[in-house]
């Protein structure tokens, strides 16, 4: 059995780091892992896409369209763009945040509403939590915690520093349903 995760976001958000950390957590949990940096330049601003596959033995590194078990978006417009990876039971985890595209303006509420037409959506306020902790850079740790919990690989994550750990634990709590954000309860 191989679990396929597609992680997307915008350059500069730390998408690669999130994928790498997830891979480390999965490896610590005893899985074979492949992480493919599918798309994205080192600059800020462009769409970034990374695939993580974990299981007993992983062959291909890249997830096919319609084949993801989880799609994780660090930004909501990128979640829409990653829709092609969604299959029957894919869980779509989206950071509640829109990064605008230069020269265009999309109403964030409209974007969330469109996403909410998908049954398996989890809208996670990772950006808001990160800002509360003090810096937007912590949003990937929130999502890591959330995702690691869903995938059952949240036990041996010992490389995070104190603030990233706080963000991680917040994400983990959200995923276990200890803390029900209004947005994700609306979605279900």
């Amino acid at each position: 059995m191989v679990t396929s995760v597609v992680i997307v976001g915008v350059g500069g958000q730390g998408v690669m780091t999130l994928a790498r950390w997830l891979g480390r957590a999965a490896m610590a949990a005893g899985y074979d892992v492949k992480i493919a940096e599918v798309h994205g330049l080192s600059q800020r601003g462009g769409s970034v896409e990374v695939h993580v596959r974990l299981g007993d033995r992983v062959y291909g590194p890249v997830v096919s369209e319609g084949d993801a078990d989880y799609v994780v978006a660090m930004e909501a417009l990128e979640a829409l763009r990653a829709f092609r990876y969604i299959g029957g039971n894919t869980v779509l985890v989206v950071n509640k945040r829109v990064i605008q595209i230069p020269g265009r303006y999309l109403d964030p509420e409209q974007v969330y509403k469109a996403l909410q037409t998908y049954k398996n959506l989890r809208l996670v306020p990772a950006f808001d939590i990160a800002m509360k902790i003090g810096d937007p850079i912590y949003e990937n740790s929130v999502l890591l915690g959330y995702l690691a919990k869903l995938l059952g690989v949240d036990e041996r994550v010992d490389w995070l520093d104190e603030r990233n750990r706080r963000a991680f634990d917040e994400g983990r709590r959200l995923a276990s349903g200890d803390l029900q954000p209004s947005a994700s309860s609306m979605a279900s």
């Binding site: 500069g12 480390r24 492949k34 600059q43 992983v58 829409l80 020269g103 999309l106």
Partner: protein, 595 residues
């Protein structure tokens, strides 16, 4: 111990465990992390070279002297190094000489697709092709040892899906570096025609023996009526696709696709399905051996782009007549607009493009571009071509002499300038082609992750001075002065004189890293909504990525993106853009310039 390694890191560790002593490369996605990883090992000579030819020459020379040496680059880079590459096969080497190239099918960050394996066939150099990071480690090690044993160069061909895949890899510790001693051998090393002719016969003799050797890199898994021959990442997709299709097959895994082992001539009496990434290099060799194949040649698999699980499942299905077609992927409930890559907020190139746009307003300009971050000037309409490293000045000179009505502004980054433009600069002077060459010097090879460029030790203006071309230096964060100088340069070119403008300020990303390390929090800028008159200059002309256009046309700055460069505040005609912490602006620009 298993480490979660990038294919490129695994290649570096493989070379280290083979005792590599000399390594050189030129950065290029998806190959850069090979040299970056090796750079950590100070007991060896590891360097970024100014271009791939130099890199290959350094490694080649070291291997002639008996050292174990590696050169790394991306596929297009091998073209630059093709000259010494071919001669290396003729002379052979004494130590180990591994040429690692990372191909980029689908051109994620390249100007063309190219299958390095052709170079193996053309230059008579065997090619190894790993399918994943673990194999990349193993083949880098074996390739280097093999090269030394054969006294012949060996190519390691990676692709994006090996180089940029991270997976658990078991590595062996580095072996001590093996340097060497050069021994004269004029008949072998001096390729004057009479020697070269003798060496060609020797190369062909060796080439025949390599075919047997490549059997070592062949394995057969499973069995069944169906035979699939797969090379590199093609193997991973083939195994997974066969599983999906529930087809029992013998999978022949080819680790050395060039030259193919002779014994492959007797695989399968019927037709063989060939799965490989890039061009049909294995397939053509199989056909030449008389094997009937179904692969890319007859269109069972796409000839463009990367393999995907989808294309391999459908390709095998077509080849075997199974009639499987995968369902179309779902469409999103709302189509998101494309998010093209932009120059980073506060990128110094943003200021340079702005200055030249203003300075050349009203003129017919050809923006002769090049390969690098600044190719993103396409978003401001300031890149009319960008075809290869050095196209800016090279093609720019051709355009300027052919079309005398237009003004050519050639834009080149610092790394590309040292890589390709130096001989062109000499032609610019000797041929006196009137154009503006803008060296966009951000002091790093930023597109590939921030490798240092020679810019600090060999400033571009010194070279312009040495050659005797008129030159100016600007700081693109100072827009007013930059526009003035850009105007002067445009006037020089219009009057018939070639001119160089060096626009210098370090890469924003490096500056931000620098600030983080020194505990400095850069200021941010914001738009005073009441003062903004929706003129759009900041988001339409300067085009800073951090500035969004609100539905009423007013500007809004995303504080999580702004890097505090102040350029927007300088261009706003209504003084509507302000820093949050005005006292910090000067300090930040100062700190930035030292990044």
């Amino acid at each position: 111990m298993r480490h979660l390694l990038l294919g490129n890191e695994a290649i570096a560790y493989g070379a280290l465990s083979a005792g590599v002593a000399v390594a050189a490369g030129y950065p290029g996605t998806p190959s850069s992390e090979i040299i970056e990883t090796l750079l950590e090992y100070r007991d060896r000579f590891v360097q970024w070279a100014s271009n791939e030819k130099t890199a290959v020459e350094i490694a080649y020379g070291a291997a002639l002297a008996g050292a174990r040496a590696l050169a790394a680059m991306k596929h297009v880079g091998l073209n630059v190094a093709a000259d010494p590459l071919h001669s290396a096969a003729y002379t052979g080497v004494v130590g180990g000489f591994l040429i690692v190239t990372a191909d980029d099918p689908n051109m994620w960050s390249s100007q063309n697709e190219q299958d390095t394996r052709w170079y193996g066939l053309q230059s008579y150099i065997p090619v190894l092709e790993p399918s994943d990071p673990q194999e990349a480690f193993k083949m880098a090690k074996e390739g280097l040892m093999l090269s030394e044993a054969l006294e012949h160069p060996v190519i390691l061909r990676s692709v994006t899906r090996v180089s940029h895949v991270r997976a658990p890899v078991v590595v062996e510790p580095p072996a001590p570096p093996k340097f060497g001693k050069f021994a004269r051998n004029v008949e072998r090393y001096v390729l004057v025609p009479q020697n070269a002719r003798r060496r060609k016969a020797e190369v062909l003799r060796r080439w025949d023996s390599f075919a047997d050797l490549s059997s070592r890199f062949l394995s057969i898994e499973g069995d069944g009526e169906v035979v699939v021959v797969a090379s590199g990442v093609g193997y991973l997709y083939a195994v997974e696709a066969l599983e999906r299709l529930r087809v029992k097959a013998a999978v022949v895994k080819v680790g050395m696709p060039v030259p193919l082992p002779k014994k492959l001539a007797d695989v399968g009496a019927g037709e063989v399905v060939v799965v490989e990434e890039g061009d049909p290099v294995v397939e053509m060799q199989l056909r030449a051996m008389g094997v009937k194949t179904r692969g890319k040649i007859d269109g069972f698999f796409p000839k463009i782009g990367e393999l995907t699980l989808r294309s391999v499942v459908e390709g095998i299905s077509k080849a075997l007549g199974l009639g499987v077609r995968l369902p179309d992927p779902p469409t999103p409930p709302l189509q998101p607009p494309p998010r093209p890559p932009y120059l980073c907020p506060g990128c110094p190139h943003m200021g340079t493009f702005y200055a030249f746009k203003i300075a050349s307003a009203g003129q017919k300009v050809i923006w002769s571009g090049d390969i690098g971050c600044y190719t993103l000037g396409i978003n401001t309409g300031q890149q009319d071509l960008a075809t290869h490293m050095g196209s800016s000045l090279g093609l720019g000179m051709g355009i300027a002499v052919a079309d005398r009505e237009k003004l050519v502004v050639a834009t080149v980054g610092d790394s590309t300038f040292y890589h390709a433009a130096l001989p062109q600069l000499i032609d610019l002077k000797t041929k006196k082609v009137p154009l503006v060459l803008v060296v966009m010097d951000n002091e790093y090879t930023a597109m590939t992750g921030g490798q240092p460029s020679p810019s600090r030790s060999v400033p571009a203006e010194r070279l312009a001075e040495a050659v005797g071309v008129k030159h100016y230096v600007i700081d693109p964060a100072d827009l007013k002065r930059s526009v003035e100088i850009a105007k002067a340069a445009v006037a020089d070119a219009k009057s018939g004189e070639p001119v160089v403008v060096v626009s210098r300020r370090p890469c924003t990303l490096e500056a931000l890293r620098h600030a983080r390390r020194s505990g400095f929090k850069p200021p941010k800028f914001y738009v005073v909504a009441d003062k903004c008159r929706s003129c759009g200059i900041c988001y339409n002309v300067l085009k800073c990525y951090a500035i969004a256009k609100l539905p009423d046309g007013k500007a809004w700055i995303d504080p999580s993106l702004c890097s505090g460069c102040s350029m927007c505040a300088q261009v706003c005609p209504y003084d509507a853009i302000k820093p949050t912490e005005p006292e910090k602006v000067g300090k930040w620009l100062e700190l930035w310039s030292q990044a």
